[in-house]
């Protein structure tokens, strides 16, 4: 399964759950280990598959960094049947218990085996406990029917939940190559918490150099924007591209860019265009190669006139771009501070 491919037809066959305790790093605390695989009812299996498929829409591509963690080797041992899923999962639970920082909350480690895109997959997920209430109709002591409510603090992976981290590894045709897979972490972005999960626990690095993939993202989006006929849209989308690149978020995503900045009618065409050159997975943002290109917006007109404006000037309406018949009108409503010439007039 290549990174550019979608994750399809996920089927979970075996699951082991272990309890991870809240404890200071290095305290030697033992996780609460299961001694057998969890039974999977059909409803639980299909619900989990749906939840995991949904979560994997936010995946980022990673690749094994040799020597960083024992997890890739353990996965290989499970695939080659040198160890069982249960035994492997117990080691992985102890590793997580000792790797997670003191601020890491308690929860469950789910270790699972299954298939996706017709190849075996191995999955580890740190799932935090969630809270909720349930209601059930019953008869009270006076014989009246009443909904009784129960407080639940042992829920996990509920619909809409973001409190999980997932490592997902499809089996490659050549298992001796560095392991490739995906990580999903929607809890905290770009912090040391993600780093402990990705590097210390999974033993992985980002598959593509973030600065290169960020540049490719900008070029791909720019190419699509330039193809739009409507100048007003082009300006608005250009502004969106700069806003996305300059935002505090450390992740770039074709889908979230479409959802955040594009008119619904343009989103499918953009997604189809972007998927030709960009990974379907999310990308880690690094502006180092494009810093000089994202400071301003620039319009080059047919007559050779060049207008350069800051994104803020477009955002606050100082510079506007409108369509007027077969021409485009760029208006600057501002105070002129200086007028000067540049270059040389040619006869």
């Amino acid at each position: 399964m290549e990174g550019s491919k979608v994750v399809r037809g996920l089927r979970i066959d075996h699951v082991v759950l272990h309890g991870i305790k809240r404890a200071a790093k290095g305290s030697g605390t033992e996780p609460e280990l299961s001694q057998a695989e969890s039974a999977l009812s059909e409803q639980v299996r299909t619900f989990l598959q749906g939840q995991l498929s949904d979560a994997l829409k936010h995946r980022r591509e990673v690749v094994e960094e040799p020597g960083m963690s024992t997890l890739p080797g353990i996965i290989r041992d499970v695939w080659s049947k040198k160890t069982t899923l249960l035994a492997a999962s117990q080691v992985l639970a102890r590793n997580l218990q000792s790797a997670q920082p003191g601020i890491g909350s308690e929860g469950l480690l789910m270790v699972a085996q299954g298939r996706a895109n017709d190849v075996p997959v191995f999955l580890v997920a740190k799932l935090e406990h969630e809270k909720g209430t349930s209601a059930q109709m019953e008869q009270n002591p006076d014989g009246a029917l009443v909904y009784s409510m129960t407080f639940l603090d042992n829920l996990f992976f509920t619909e809409g939940s973001k409190v999980y981290k997932i490592g997902f590894f499809p089996k490659a045709s050549d298992v001796d190559q560095p392991l490739e897979g995906f990580i999903v972490d929607r809890q905290v972005s770009g912090s040391e918490v993600a780093t402990y999960f990705r590097e210390t626990y999974l033993g992985c690095a980002w598959k593509q150099r973030p600065e290169v993939v960020t540049q490719r993202f900008m070029d791909t989006v720019q190419e699509w924007i330039d193809r739009q006929d409507d100048p007003e849209k082009r300006s608005r989308y250009q502004l969106g591209l700069l806003a996305e690149l300059q935002s505090q978020r450390d992740v770039l995503s074709v889908n979230s860019f479409a959802a955040s900045y594009l008119d619904p009618v343009d989103r499918d065409s953009f997604t189809a265009h972007a998927q030709r050159t960009l990974p379907a997975a999310n990308m880690t943002k690094d502006l180092s190669l494009i810093e000089s290109r994202i400071a301003n917006i620039r319009w080059d007109t047919r007559s050779g006139t060049v207008v350069i404006a800051s994104p803020e000037a477009v955002q606050n309406g100082t510079v506007t771009v409108e369509e007027a018949g077969d021409k485009t009108v760029i208006k600057v409503a501002d105070d002129i501070l200086k007028t000067s010439g540049s270059g040389r007039f040619k006869h």
Partner: protein, 340 residues
């Protein structure tokens, strides 16, 4: 009869012994037929039957003109496809021939046997061989009847009405029978006329309306039948089809049935796994949010999610449909998080 000719008792025992294989053959033919018709976006009620033992015994006992009764009794397994429109009978025949999974070795076109001054049953019968399985010693012949619903109704009651040869009926009864048969032809003719494809120059709005109310539900039902046997709730289908039709690009309105049929053929294994997990036979069939998974329109929703998810979600909301119906299909049907 030669000494090698099996006795009637041996024939009946052979029939009993082969019945489980006949049932498999009947199931295989139904599955293949539904798949072939679905790919062609023709919705038909497809059924099959294996001849009852007493019926086979009766035929063996009563007919003395068989030289090889086992080979000559070709209706040991039968299948039937009932369609709405008369022109679909020939389309189905062409689709079966083109597909090749069901090898046709004989055709009985009852329509050609009816003289211009005659009125009679006019279906099409195909003699085919069921797909072979490992261990088969012989090919299994299956007779497929393809008829319209009106032709089927006539066929079912005609033998009770015409209990005497036509020559022995009095003029009034003969005329009554002819009027009934004429009604069958009239019925089929009118259905075809009303359901005929719109002309090339039909206005775009008329095409869109026609897609949402007729062509799309038919194409969805035909393709869904490739995986599931239920027909779903018609009111729900009507509501969802409005949104689905809005999400189909105008340039695809005329040929959406083939777009859908091709996509389903391409995604067949994945769709089968999905319906096994989430469809009407699955453990999720009782969970209310999963209601669409047991509806024919689910197949159109999945196609739209894979190729134009944003257009679908926009149309979905325009039609006031709840996100929670879409969410369970969106989770597995697209890589795009539609924020439902």
């Amino acid at each position: 009869m030669s000494d090698e000719t099996p006795s009637n008792d041996e024939l009946i025992q052979r029939f009993i012994d082969t019945q489980p294989r006949f049932q498999q053959a009947a199931d295989d033919v139904v599955e293949a037929l539904k798949d072939i018709l679905g790919a062609g976006s023709i919705y038909a009620a497809v059924s099959s039957r294996v001849k009852e033992i007493d019926s086979f015994r009766g035929k063996v006992e009563l007919r003395d003109d068989y030289t090889d009764p086992w080979a000559q009794i070709t209706d040991k397994v039968g299948a039937r496809a009932l369609v709405h429109r008369a022109d679909e009978v020939d389309r189905i025949h062409r689709l079966i021939e083109a597909d090749g999974r069901l090898q046709v070795y004989g055709i009985t076109d009852k329509r050609l046997q009816v003289g211009e001054r005659e009125l009679a049953y006019s279906g099409l019968h195909l003699d085919i061989y069921a797909p072979s399985r490992d261990g088969d010693q012989e090919q299994i012949p299956v007779e497929i009847q393809i008829r319209t619903i009106a032709q089927h109704a006539w066929s079912e009651v005609s033998h009770r009405l015409v209990y005497k040869p036509q020559a022995e009926l009095d003029a009034d009864d003969r005329r009554a029978i002819w009027r009934l048969v004429a009604l069958v032809e009239l019925f089929d003719g009118e259905v075809s006329r009303v359901m005929e494809k719109l002309p090339e120059d039909a206005p775009a709005e008329e095409l869109a309306d026609r897609l949402a109310t007729h062509d799309l539900p038919d194409a969805l039902a035909a393709n869904y039948a490739r995986f599931e046997g239920n027909t779903g709730n018609a009111d729900l289908t009507r509501r969802v089809c409005g949104a689905l039709a809005e999400a189909i690009p105008a340039e695809d309105h005329r040929q959406y049935d083939s777009v859908l049929g091709s996509w389903v053929t391409e995604q067949k294994n994945w769709l089968r796994a999905m319906y096994d997990d989430y469809g009407p036979r699955s453990s999720m069939a009782t969970v209310s949010d999963y209601v669409l998974w047991s509806q024919p329109e689910s197949i159109g929703v999945l196609e739209a999610l894979s190729s134009r998810p944003w257009a679908l979600v926009t149309a979905w909301r325009n039609h006031g449909l709840p996100d929670r119906w879409l969410k369970p299909l969106e989770a597995v049907g697209t890589d795009v998080d539609l924020d439902l």
